[in-house]
Structures are given as C-alpha cells and as structure tokens.
Amino acid sequence: MKVKVLSRNPDDYLRETKRDIHKVFRNYNPVLHPFEAPREYLRALNATKLDRVFAKPFIASLDGHRDGVCCMCRHRKKLSSIFSGSCDGEIRQWNLTNRQCIRTLQGHTGFVRGLTCSADGNMFISVGDDKTIKHWNTDALSEGRDFPINTLVTKSLYTGVDHHWTEATYATCGQTVDIWNLERAEPIRVYKWGMDSVNSVRFNPVETNLCISTVVDRSIRLYDIRAAVPLNKVTLKLKSNVAVWNPMEAYVFTAANEDHNLYTFDMRKLDAAVNVHTDHTDAVLDVDYSPTGREFVSGSYDRSIRIFPVLSSGKSREVYHTKRMQRVFTVRWSADNRYILSGSDETNIRMWKARASEKLGMVTPREKAATVYNDKLKEKFAYHPQVKRIARHRHVPKSIYQAMKEKRLIKESQRKKEQNVRMHSKHGSVPRVVEKKKHIVTFQE
C-alpha cells in the first residue's frame, strides 16, 4: 500500500522573517473562483461608485486679474507657464506649479483680444482693442520684461492671433486675415472675403501652412497661406466662435457654435459633420483639444465647461461648474493632458483636473495596477443599467438643468411636428435629414 496525504511544509508557505513579503500562491482553476461574473460586476459597480465619490475636479483658482479673462495661451515649450489677457488690457504670466502670477503687464487699452506664443517659445504676441500688435519676451526675468519688444500700430481692429507652428510667421484676424512676418512691420499677405469680419484664426499643427478661420457670415474657411484663394468653406446655420484643429488627426477640426453645439468636421468631407456635440445650453465661446486628440474641452456662456470625446454619441463626458464661475470666455487643455484651465467673466482663471477622480501626486505601482484593472472593469460593464446610471449622473446648476429640460422639450416637439408633416405629405416630399447634415447650409469644395 502506498499513501500520500496532503501535508504542506510551513517553510514553503510562510515568510522567513517579518521583513519579507508574504508569499502569495495562485491557482487559476475556475472551480476555486466561483461567481466570476457577479463578482466582477460588483467590482465594476464599486469602482464606478468610488469614481464618483473621488470626483473632485477643482484644483485651484488663479486670481489677480481685475476684469474678466478673455483670452489665454500656453507656452509652447514650458508646461508650467501660461499667459492670460483680460478685458481691461492687462496681460499676466502664471506659473502653474506654484499657482502664482509671475508677471503683470499693462498690454493694451481696452480688451486684450488674442494671445499666442511663438514656435520657439521665446516670444509671445498680443493683439488688443487699441489696434496694436505687441511682441513680448516670455522670459519673466529678462531686463526689458515690462515693455514689449516690438509694437505694431495697425489701421483696423484685431479679434484674434495665432502663431505658425514652425516658422517665424503669425496670422491676425479682424476685418481681414493678415499674415505677418516677425521681421516686417507690414503684413506679407492679406485675405479679405466680402465685408464680414473674421472671428478666429488657427494654424494647422501638421500641415503647417494651412489655416482655419471662422467668419461672421456663419462660414468656416480653410486656406493655405501660400495661396491667394481659399481652399474651401462650410456654412452653418449660425455663427461659429472659434474652430480648432485636432493635434493628432490634423485633418479634423471642431467648431464652437452660437447654436449651443460643437461641430467636428473632417476637412476632406465637409458635406456632413463627423459628430455633433450637444449638451451646452448656451453659446459655446471657446474650445481646445487635449494633446491626445481624443477629447476636447469647451467653455460656454451658460457658465459651465464640458469635456467631450471626439467620437461616440456626441454627449459630454463631464461637466464642470462652480457657484462663482460666470460666463466662460476661454478654456485651455494643458500640454501634459492632466489639467484644464478656464478663464471666466468674474476675473478668475480656474484650474481643473482633466479626469475628475484621478489621484494627483505619486502613484504606487499597486495603485496604478488597481486603476488599470478598475478601468477595464468599468469599460466591460459600462452598459449595465446600474453602472451606466451612476457613471452618467452629474449634478448641474438649476439654470442649466431647466435649460436642458426646455431644450429637450423643444427638440421633442420639433421631431413630433416634423413627423406629423411627413405623415400628411406626399411620400418622399419631406425627407429625413440626419443630425450631422441638418445644421449645414452650404459647403464649397
């Protein structure tokens, strides 16, 4: 007879000293892990709940401006440095690491309309209501730090400015779109389309000579600064305030529109929007892409900031608001993809986390692994009603809540009306137009 009875040698199973780590033995046999699906589901549910518990997105408020913050720009080479311009013509430079203002400049009389940083990061340009363009040194400790390097006095008012991504060229917009060279006092090229003024201008980060502008005649125009005539344009039902390029897929751009929506377009196919982002309840004033190109942030006149994924249903992933934040004039996503900055009417610049429940500071490998695991579970069970409900729920101020309700009502009644009209008309005479085409008036190739 041969007998073997299970007998575990404690030396193999217990740690030798108290300083050792515990020995953990695994056996992946499914029989030892019953209720796999319900347990995973509960983990996902708990992770989703904790996500909402830890969602504390507001980090800090940068106060110092004496009037509403109307424009902001990032330093193109430094993560921690930003510039902001206010409605009283003051320009401030901020250090985001210690959240302090490091320089105050009296830039313009009247509004500062636009700010942009040069490609090498040595200089930034401001335009204002006093019909001047000013070049400033970005170094806050340089000798002539209180005075501009160069001031250009122009004939007309400018509403925006953007610097080329590689060359020493920048573009301003106003009555016309002017292309400037840093060495010259006169614009090297002037574009004028009709009598309407231009709201914004942005250089493409990849195809660097390509520009996009939003015009008051409700159109969005694409043009190459080497050519005399514009490439193509698309006209929407209402005016767009600003259009920005996706930094990763630079043929995609998003326009912030007065009709409370944002429209994402593929520049190769302007007959339909790639996506329509609806959630704001008032005009959208500014939009900025995350450096990954997957998401963008928008600031609106309804006193809230929303984060949208570029693709997916067109609903926002997140909404940020505080009691004190007023109309948001400008938003920026930080270059490390972790923070969002918003400048609003009540003179503050607010710093938010891009992912509301993310832990700031050092993260241990165990924490990191747990986060990855939880994220995967949340993704797996995202469509379960319980999980979905908790993940989707956001508290919004009463004004926004009422406005959203009203908008929903209006949309529903419009849909019903259209349905009735269609029912009582000749078959095919009232065609169904998809949402992505509905808001486009014309497009020109």
Binding site: V3, V5, V24
Partner: protein, 529 residues
C-alpha cells in the same frame, strides 16, 4: 535548440480554463466592432493559455492511496493509513472524546484552519484543529440545533430551539435573531459569497437572511411540508430542499416558486449534497438508495443500493463523496460497487464535513469528534486571494473588507451564474420595440452603397452582387421546394376529387372509361375554352 519556442499545452488543460465557446466575428459588419471583438477574443485566448501554462508552477500534488494486488482500499483502516503517512499528516487523525453534551454538529471555516463544534446540550467550541489550540469554548445553556462558522472575524453562529445567535470568537454574543418564534428551526446554511444564510423550519418556510446587515431578504412558503433537508449549490448559490415525497426543489431568494423541481426518489429524501463545480447532485432516500444526478441536465447518472439510506452526504473539493449510514462513514470516489474508504464509529454519526484544502474528513458523532484521513480529498494548491490557510491577521482583515465589498446580492442568484457577462438580447429587443413605438417609424438599416474602386474582382459592387447571387440561390431553392409541395398537394386534391367522381359513376356501371376520359388528355384539349 531542438525545442525552440513555447512548450505546447495539452488541449484538455486549456479546456478547463475556457469560459465558453469562441465568438464568431465573421458576420460582424461594423469594421470597428469586428476589430475590437477580435482583439478581445485574442486577449481571452491568451489568458486561457497562460492560465493553463501556469499549472507548471503549482507545487503541491494531491494525495492518493494505492493498494497492492488483492488488497481492498475500503478495508484499510485509519490506523494503517496514519502509520504509513508522514508524522505531520498522522497528527491530523485524532479523536476527541465528548461524551457529555453530544451529539455534535461540526463545521470548518472557509480556509480550513478552524473547526467549530456544537453539542446538542449546549456545548459550543471553536479551535484551530491543526495546533489543537482552543479559541473559545462555552455552554450556551440551550439546545443547539446546528452550528455554522461565518467567515467574518471567525464568528460562529448557533441555532437554538427558537432563535439564531451570532457569536464572535471571543465568546461575545453579537446578535440574536428571532424570526419565527413559534417554529422550531431545523437547519441553517451559510452561503459564503453572499454573506447570507438560509434557514428552514417545520412549517415549510425557507428564510433567506443577509448576515452582513442582519436583514431578512425573503421568506418563502415552499408548501412542501416539514423541511429538514437542505443544501446549496456552491456553483450558483441556489438552495436545494429535499421533501417527504421524494422530490428535490431548487430555490432562489427572488422567486416565490421553485426554479427546478425534480423527483429523485420514491420515498422521503434523507440527505442532499452538490459538488464544488455544481455538476453533480448526490441524494439519498428512505428507499436505501443513493443516487447521483447531473444538475445541469437534471438526469440521473448512477444509483447505489445500500443497507440504509445515508443520513449525511458531503462532497469534498476533489469530488469524493462521504456518506454516513448510522455509525458507518463511507467515502466514495467514482461510481463503483465498493466505497473508497470506510470507518466505523461506536455510536451513530450526527454530522460530517470535509476540511477544505486538507485530506481530512471531520465526523461529529454522538459522543466524540473524529478527524479521519482521506487521501486525495482536498485541493492541493490553494489560491491565496480566494482563501488562504496560512494568512496573517492583516491579510485576513483586508480579505474581509474585500469579501464584504463583493458580497453577491440576492437578486443576482440564478441557475446560470455567468448570466451577467452575457449579451442581453431580451432587453435589447424590448428597447428596440419601445423606440419604434416612440418614434413612430421603423428605422431602416443602411442600404449598401458601393465604394468607388477602379479594378479587380474584389470591386465592392461585384462582391455585393456575388453575395446577392448566393443569397438568391438559397431563396430560389426554398421557393422551389415550396412550389413542389404545393403542386403535390394540388395533385392529391385532384386525385381525390377524381375518386369521388368514380364513386358516383359506380352506380351507373362503367367507371374506368369515364375516369380515363377525364385523366387522358387529347390533342383537342387546347381548343377547349
């Protein structure tokens, strides 16, 4: 290197780790979805492969008992086994003489470290059975019907004549649950992943209590008469009840009717047990039979005729079945004539339980507790994240918090525990219908629009045309068959009508010619109107 690359893994090993058949991505039209499904399928396959490969790292081998020629394993007694085994294992065979307060009910903790015994006359004790260190001992001064160890903080739970009481491992009474004072509770059952216990009483009520919050989740009138046979399926947490008419019913807390009702014996049921994987159900009845059922198919697999019907049944982690007939404990391995091991006590056996992760069977007798060695009973390699026999205090605390967070809610219990990770077709269909009603029209699926490609057989339009042809062929085939069936039917009808005519003509005399005239076609038929 002649054996380059990864070592091959046997298919049978991989099979054990699979959670269902492979998903066929062939018919997915959405490219993005197809890509995602393919990648998730790849990840799943690699996980299966890695889990199977991990078996190499499992250090322990399960126990065994090999007999020589002419020697029967069931005739080997415990003393021989203990002598042949190593000293550490031999110490696991012991007997406690407890002749004052018996008979004793017993229960092991989930990791197999502690043992809880409760004598009918009020004696309750908990101890580490390997080191024989006593954790607590008391006399509750009441009749103890059953004891169960809860996993949280090694609480014990005792059942008296009228109520259920919870005790900590420091003799402190935690909670007293009086639920139905007029009834005598007969048995309780603790479900480890649900932190819930089930109790049954003589009036046929099954009660489901959540221990972690102390709430009664549901009380079900089983309408099955006096109940005292209960077990649960560890695979899906469904409760099984044995009835006097020989039927076994399965219950979930969210349904007032049994989910399954099966007739297992012609006489009253005496004991029930379900194995770890939830595949087999062992039943015994007054008809002195012990039967093994397949719980997934609800079909009998094997039947034993014994001298008496076993009053206790218990499956071990590696599917050994312990059955007690009066004072004899029999352990069965595979369906065969003879038991694997037997052991005889002086007085009748009250309760048996296999110790998890050990080759040990605990037997609670009328005047003693005996720990028997059963080689090959326990799982050799434990998973420390699931239940760790060697865990420290800190690990235990962390595990308790995790376990409570993952407490399975009563409404998640169903026959198929994997239902939560499956695609919910039913709700999808309902949502679609709701939407259609709300919108007032049926959403059209996008019609195919050919992409503009210049050359080649794979032009998308041509591909679509070919697809349509294949599709059309099947439809044509179908139509052909239908037409054929219709034609045959018509022909039959015609023939029957001819027969009738023939019957009519029988009276006149000449049937055949008339019939022929009707059936035969002449050349002039085509001029007929």
């Amino acid at each position: 290197d002649p054996f380059h690359g990864e070592a091959p893994i046997a298919m049978e090993k991989m099979e054990a780790y699979k959670r269902g058949s492979e998903y066929d991505t062939k018919n997915i039209r959405n490219k993005n979805l197809k890509r995602r499904m393919k990648s998730s399928e790849e990840k799943y396959n690699s996980a299966v492969k890695r889990a199977a490969r991990y078996e190499l790292l499992l250090t322990e081998e399960p126990g065994f008992l090999e007999t020589e020629e002419g020697e029967e394993s069931w005739s080997i007694d415990q003393r021989t086994i203990a002598d042949a085994a190593d000293i550490a294992s031999a110490n696991k065979h012991f007997e406690l003489k407890l002749n004052q307060f018996g008979p004793y009910r017993i229960d092991y903790t989930r990791n197999g470290r502690h043992l809880l015994i409760g004598g009918r006359r009020g004696h309750v004790a908990a101890f580490d059975w390997i080191t024989k260190q006593l954790t607590c001992e008391m006399n509750v001064m009441e009749a103890v019907q059953d004891v169960k160890s809860l996993c949280i903080g090694a609480f014990s739970c005792n059942l008296y004549r009228f109520n259920i009481e919870l005790y900590t491992n420091r003799d402190v009474k935690m909670q007293c649950i009086l639920s139905n004072i007029n009834s005598v509770k007969l048995q309780i059952l603790f479900q480890k992943y649900n932190f819930a216990w089930n109790s049954i009483n003589q009036h046929g009520f099954l009660q489901y209590t959540d221990v972690s919050i102390g709430n009664i989740v549901s009380t079900i009138n089983t309408k099955g008469g006096r109940l005292n046979i209960m077990c649960h399926n560890p695979h899906n947490a469904v409760v099984l009840l044995g009835h006097h008419n020989g039927s076994v019913t399965m219950w979930t807390p969210n349904q007032k009717e049994p989910v399954v009702k099966m007739l297992c014996h012609n006489t009253a049921i005496r004991a029930l047990a379900v194995d770890q994987c939830g595949n087999y159900l062992a039943t015994s009845g007054q008809d002195r039979k012990m039967k093994i059922y397949d719980v997934r198919m609800f079909k009998p697999l094997h039947s034993y005729q014994l001298h008496t019907g076993p009053s206790n049944l218990c499956f071990s982690q590696r599917n050994l079945l312990a059955a007690t007939c009066q004072n004899v404990v029999q352990i069965y391995k595979d369906p065969c004539e003879h038991p694997y091991l037997t052991h005889r006590l002086r007085l009748p056996v009250e309760d048996v339980a296999f110790c998890p992760y050990e080759d040990v069977l605990g037997v609670g007798g009328s005047d003693s507790f005996v720990s028997l060695l059963v080689p090959g009973a326990g799982e050799a390699n434990y998973d420390a994240f699931e239940s760790n026999p060697n865990r420290s205090k800190k690990q235990r605390r962390e595990w308790e918090v995790k376990a409570l967070l993952e407490k399975i809610q009563p409404d998640m219990i169903s026959l198929d525990p994997m239902v939560l990770s499956k695609v919910d077709h039913v709700s999808m269909e309902r949502l679609r219908k709701d939407k259609e009603e709300r919108m007032g029209f049926v959403e059209e699926t996008a019609k195919f629009e050919p992409k503009h490609k210049n050359k080649g057989r794979s032009k998308s339009g041509n591909v679509e045309k070919r697809k349509q042809k294949v599709h059309g062929a099947t439809i044509r085939e179908q139509i052909k068959e239908e037409m054929k069936a219709k034609r045959e039917k018509l022909l039959k009808a015609e023939e029957s009508s001819l027969d009738q005519i023939a019957v009519v003509d029988n009276q006149t005399g000449d049937t055949t010619e008339f019939k022929n005239a009707l059936t035969r076609k002449s050349a002039l038929d085509r001029f007929k109107k």
